[in-house]
Symmetry: C2
DNA sequence: GGCAATAATGAGAACGTGCGCAATCCCGCG
DNA sequence: CGCGGGATTGCGCACGTTCTCATTATTGCC
């Protein structure tokens, strides 16, 4: 920086001002400095900057080390949004989302003087870890507890489950079964709630949810049960991979999808359109979640305080071929929330 | 640090020595210092350290911003390996792998004083970008050009394609068709080469490869062609999602898998076992690639020079239900490389 | 017990930047 | 022409470490 200053015939302080877009720099001076910067190929030293300001231009992300589609997409989307705001992203993955792991990862990020932290914490047992986080660093929780009073951005699980369920009810199905995600995940809970709400609102019977995890294997096991139950005509699974497992189980049992049983998934993984049959599913807006999270972080940085806002991002339904009219013998007449049932 | 020094009754310099495991510190002193550190909850400032040493304890990863299974798994695996060595990982994703994007991302990482850079650059047009990279920072290329003289770690694409092809030939198929990845990807090229090698070694006809990208949609299109060609009995697809698309196309055309046509994929995505039918596929060792990359980086840091080593990590075949004996009318007797053909 | 060698410690200067404050410059107005 | 005030610029310090070099404590050996 000293070299640049010398070449431009100014002090290092003026160079610093040019770099930080300070208002009080004469246009002529600014140009001279910028020319010197370009000529010398000067690049500011982030470490020095972080040292003196106590804050770097980096966001830390804490996520469970998994290649689950949701978290991976979220991470990629957030990285993209951050890059646009000229922030970089540092990742600290944790093997499990318990208190110790999370606070350890957060601690590591604070040691790096990050400008803010994103915790992708979709499980209940991450709650008390987040409670204990020091309040002096901007923080956003993604897919965390929707009832907490912390800055939170989340896919609207409930709304997603509602539109999925409604789509099936609208097709004339008497009720909708549900293969749920693992216990303790807010995603699971929200999707169960939306599904149950919708069923109750429509006056439909609420069958017991089949509890699974997020894997196709669990979906397969659930599917083997569903296939044996003659009165099942519609299933909403908590994600697409579960749906894939269910599809295979039904296939093996000779139950046709969608002729005998209709299915709706959640996530819209890129391959969902090529399952057999192509899967109707709910598409969360990961990019929207990422953008909102970033803005919330930026706002906290600017204001210096933590913002207890909750943002839920609405997902959309992607209709493909895995939903059909209910078989005639089970069909019911229904109208759901203003949407007249077809046929 | 000064506080710690005062509390322990030593100079700040001694505290620094304790932190860096310098040999010349008396045991008694070390314990006193450590006690002081614990009592004060002191944590070293990474920015200051980076400033004076010119190097941080962070690795930078450059990857294309995608949720492709391969890159995402690689990233997760590398992050895990790095965390174990107490390094953190910073991600700079690029929208496309052209020269400008890559060198920009690398530049950003260098600005952050990273200890080393990992470039996940599976395409030919990334080559000259990597050529131009400054040699003063440890670098490893993952899935880059296998013919370049740079530190490189890669999944052994050729070997993977060979075992996939061999598996099909061993089942008695006269030849094996191939749905390839996009042009310009080393993954595609390596898989084509392994497939062709194996076919030629076995004296089988080499049909023209069907060129696609990595999506299920492209696989579906390829599958529609394959389904129409009566003499196709075995297909090796460049990844699992392509295989999924092919499976659906074949299903729609009434071609049974594996009875009429056998299929082998590549990647072993978690759901592959639940495709219809469960997919036989090649599983790359992402964790192995990540570990090797990390070691290569660490070695370069230690030695201070760049190491031009190439490491290829062997994948394994995961046999499931998508491969069957060739239909009798097309079957050939064959023995491939010492493996007696069954039946 | 004394001397040399070695181990252990300390003092002070960097590293490259931003901040507060003082100094200077420029402009317009009376 | 002089003066006030805002715009611009410069000076020196501080951030928290590690590095080099000098100094002091300890040990082994005769």
């Amino acid at each position: 920086m000293t070299d640049v200053a010398r070449l431009a015939g100014v002090s290092h302080q003026t160079v610093s001002r040019v770099l930080n877009d300070h208002p009080n720099v004469r246009e002529r001076t600014r140009l001279r400095v910028q020319a010197a910067i370009a000529e010398l190929g000067y690049r500011p030293n982030h470490a020095a900057r972080a040292l003196v300001t106590g804050r770097s231009r980096t966001f830390g992300v804490v996520a469970q080390n998994s290649t689950l589609y949701g978290p991976a997409s979220l991470l990629a989307a957030f990285e993209e949004a951050a890059a646009e705001a000229r922030f970089s992203v540092s990742v600290a993955s944790v093997s499990s989302l318990d208190r110790q792991s999370i606070s350890g990862a957060v601690q590591r990020h604070r040691d790096q003087q990050v400008a803010g932290i994103v915790v992708i914490a979709p499980v209940t047992w991450a709650n008390d870890a987040i409670d204990q986080l020091p309040p002096d660093v901007p923080l956003v929780t993604i897919d965390g507890d929707p009832n907490r009073n912390e800055p939170l951005v989340t896919v609207d699980q409930v709304a997603g489950a509602r539109i999925a369920t409604q789509c099936l009810l609208d097709a004339g199905h008497r009720t909708v079964w549900h293969v749920s995600g693992p216990d303790g995940w807010f995603d699971s809970a929200g999707r169960i709630q939306g599904w149950r709400d919708m069923l109750e609102a429509a006056g439909a019977e609420v069958p017991p949810p089949l509890s699974a995890d997020w894997t196709a294997a669990a979906g397969y096991r659930a599917g083997q049960m569903l296939a044996r139950m003659a009165d099942v005509t519609a299933v909403f699974t908590a994600n697409d991979h579960l749906a894939l497992g269910v599809l295979r189980a039904l296939h093996e049992h000779g139950r046709k999808v969608p002729d005998d049983i209709s299915i709706v998934g959640f996530d819209d993984v890129p391959e969902a359109g090529f399952y057999i049959p192509p899967l109707t599913t709910v598409r969360p807006d990961f990019a929207g979640v990422a953008r909102t999270s970033l803005q919330l972080l930026l706002a906290q940085i600017e204001e210096g305080g933590r913002r207890s806002e909750r943002h839920t991002i609405a997902p959309t339904l992607v209709e493909r071929d895995s939903v059909a009219r209910a078989p005639a013998r089970t069909r019911v007449k229904r109208r759901a929330e203003g949407t007249p049932a077809a046929g």
